[in-house]
């Protein structure tokens, strides 16, 4: 006979109560794991999407006035002022996921001014997540062709195969972009090298759109860029702060719900153990009569409580992980995620599992403190009390 054996026997003597208390702890911990896991998935998702929204930073030449900086966003013609050498430096800054140069020019087409933007076809498409409405996209980075925005195509009734002219040079329309609801609709796009050649601005671009790999480090990345290159950086602070606050509130809401479940589980343990202390007060008296110290009694109840935490934690983690896998995709499935091709948004992290297990045990031990204390306060005289 030893402490462990006695505690195990005590734990199992009221099978029903043991099972229900354990179920309470398991459900609480399962909710905790599932919500933390799904919450993490949601956060990752939101972050990914925010990063999919396009450029987070716009690199402009130094010394531009505010109006000129805003005109980047409206698609105005801009002076070509950033040398390509700066672009290479910016791309090398850690935290920069992609940096896509833009050469903003204008051309007259059927006597109407039309924006012509020189781009890197592959990088630009990745950045803007363009879809092609008709025709096709560029096949090579210097293909002689033009891809036109939806509004421009509509205005001039352009379709793939038609001819477009840039500064008098005929270029075939190879594709029309799907309407994006952005300034891309009212622009035409040609490969950067072609644009630089036509407008004779070798080695210069108007601005550079930068996507950072971590939104939370956007400010730092911005400063770093200005350190290594002789440029100005415009950040979209509003976007970042709203995205970060959404991420934060999603996490907080999930944690609050998880906390309720976990708290209920803890009260379940307290309740069960208090009942057990009351039920066994005579036995506790007998144990004291047999020479048990208060310490031993305290340890016995703490161990019993800890076992509830450990077993409940293991069961809970198992159920929670399963639930996260089964239902996680439903929870995160919404209009936002539908626009992205995501396979699995739920990621099970061993850190979370370990954290939950130790949390479960600690919580159970904490819950056991009061009942265990109550047990030590019982008098050994209870052993002789006549029932």
């Amino acid at each position: 006979m030893n402490l462990g054996k006695l505690v195990w026997r005590n734990l199992l003597r009221r099978r029903g109560r043991f099972v229900f208390t354990l179920a309470g702890v398991s459900v609480g911990m399962a909710a905790f794991v599932a919500l933390i896991t799904i919450g993490q998935g949601l956060k990752d998702e939101i972050r990914k999407q925010a990063q999919g929204l396009g450029a987070n930073l716009v690199i402009t030449p130094k010394g531009w006035c505010a109006y000129e900086q805003i005109s980047v966003l409206t698609g105005e013609q801009l002076p070509e002022a950033i040398p390509m050498s700066e672009l290479a430096k910016i791309r090398a800054v850690p935290g920069v996921k992609s940096a896509v140069p833009h050469l903003n020019e204008k051309t007259a087409f059927r006597n109407q001014p039309v924006p012509v933007i020189g781009i890197w076809p592959k990088e630009m498409r990745a950045l803007q997540r363009w879809n092609i409405d008709s025709g096709r996209y560029f096949n090579s980075p210097d293909e002689s062709g033009v891809v036109v925005g939806a509004a421009i195509a509509k205005q001039f009734k352009l379709k793939p195969g038609d001819e477009f002219t840039v500064r008098g040079k005929p270029i075939p329309v190879i594709g029309v972009l799907r309407e994006a609801g952005s300034k891309d609709d009212i622009a035409t796009f040609i490969p950067l090298s072609l644009a630089q050649q036509i407008y004779a601005v070798q080695d210069k671009v108007s601005f550079i759109a930068v996507q950072v790999s971590d939104l939370e480090k956007m400010e730092a990345t911005s400063l770093k860029i200005q350190e290594v290159a002789n440029v100005a950086v415009v950040t979209d602070k509003q976007l970042v702060s709203s995205v970060l606050s959404i991420v934060g509130s999603v996490g907080a809401a999930m944690q609050a719900v998880a906390a309720v479940g976990v708290l209920a589980a803890a009260f379940g343990i307290v309740n069960t153990l208090l009942t057990a202390v009351h039920e066994r007060r005579r036995e506790i008296g007998i144990m004291q009569a047999l020479g048990s110290t208060r310490r031993t009694l305290f340890m016995a109840f703490m161990l019993e409580s800890g076992l509830y935490g450990l077993l409940g934690g293991i069961l809970g983690v198992t159920i929670g992980v399963l639930a996260a896998y089964l239902f996680g995709s439903y929870l995160t499935d919404n209009a936002l995620t539908a626009s992205l091709q995501q396979s699995q948004t739920v990621t099970i992290d061993y850190g979370t599992i370990l954290l939950t297990l130790s949390f479960s045990v600690c919580l159970a031990l904490f819950a056991g403190l009061y009942p265990a204390y109550r047990a030590t306060k019982l008098s050994p005289v209870e052993a002789m009390r006549h029932v």
Binding site: L290, T293, S379, P380, V381, A383
Partner: protein
């Protein structure tokens, strides 16, 4: 050198306070010699059990001194008192007080563990065999008769080889056959040198002891020796 193993000096125990104060034990002084067999008799609620609890260190007196085999209980802290209970005293209760979810063997082993005495679990089995319970070792208390349960309880009380056995109505819940067997067993233990102190209602049971104390209103009002010892 005095041969006393239990000494009480003006021991009182009061419960409650003010007008609700009740004196369960009132200035009791007495001595029990080593190897004696003493019965405590008296009406219900007159302090017999309280007296036993105080002697056994289950409770502390409100006033007075209790010396058990040379150590004064009042000077011991809770853990030391627990050690005294575990090693020097064996308790036997009216309702046997076995752990219902543990087997007979485990009920004896638990005393071995808690009393911190000999760690060999062979001793528990040895005791059960000695009391004719070898084949019942793995039975739960509910599967044993009252007499068998009480023998398990006595085996448990003897596990750590205490000098003193304190018994609260040990025969109170036994049929007459089991009662006779138990008294015979107690007689053997007494001959082997154990000091026995038992509370009983039954004059016939008290007759088996060598000395009978009468308790009334928390005081010892009679102290007679049975001639046959």
């Amino acid at each position: 050198m005095s041969n006393a193993i239990i000494e009480l000096e003006k021991v009182s125990k009061t419960y409650g306070s003010g007008t609700a104060e009740t004196k369960a034990v009132s200035e009791v002084s007495m001595t029990v010699e080593r190897g004696a067999w003493v019965a405590i008799m008296g009406p219900s609620g007159h302090g017999k059990s309280t007296l036993l609890q105080l002697i056994g260190g289950l409770d502390r007196p409100s006033a007075g001194r209790i010396v058990l085999d040379g150590s004064e209980l009042g000077t011991l802290d809770a853990a030391e008192l627990a050690t005294v209970r575990g090693k020097k005293i064996g308790f036997v209760f009216q309702f046997f007080n076995l752990m219902p979810h543990l087997t007979a063997l485990e009920n004896v082993e638990i005393a071995l563990w808690l009393g911190g005495g000999a760690r060999s679990n062979g001793r528990a089995m040895e005791l059960l065999k000695r009391f004719g319970l070898g084949d019942k070792a793995h039975h739960l208390p509910s599967m044993l008769s009252g007499g068998q349960q009480q023998r398990v309880a006595i085996a448990r009380a003897l596990t750590n080889e205490p000098d003193i056995l304190l018994m609260d109505e040990p025969t109170g819940n036994l049929d007459s056959g089991s009662e006779a067997e138990l008294l015979a067993l107690l007689g053997e233990l007494n001959k082997a040198g154990k000091t026995l102190l038992m509370v009983t209602h039954n004059p016939a049971v008290a007759q088996c002891a060598e000395r009978v104390l009468q308790v009334k209103d928390g005081k010892i009002v009679g102290d007679t020796r049975n001639g046959k010892h």
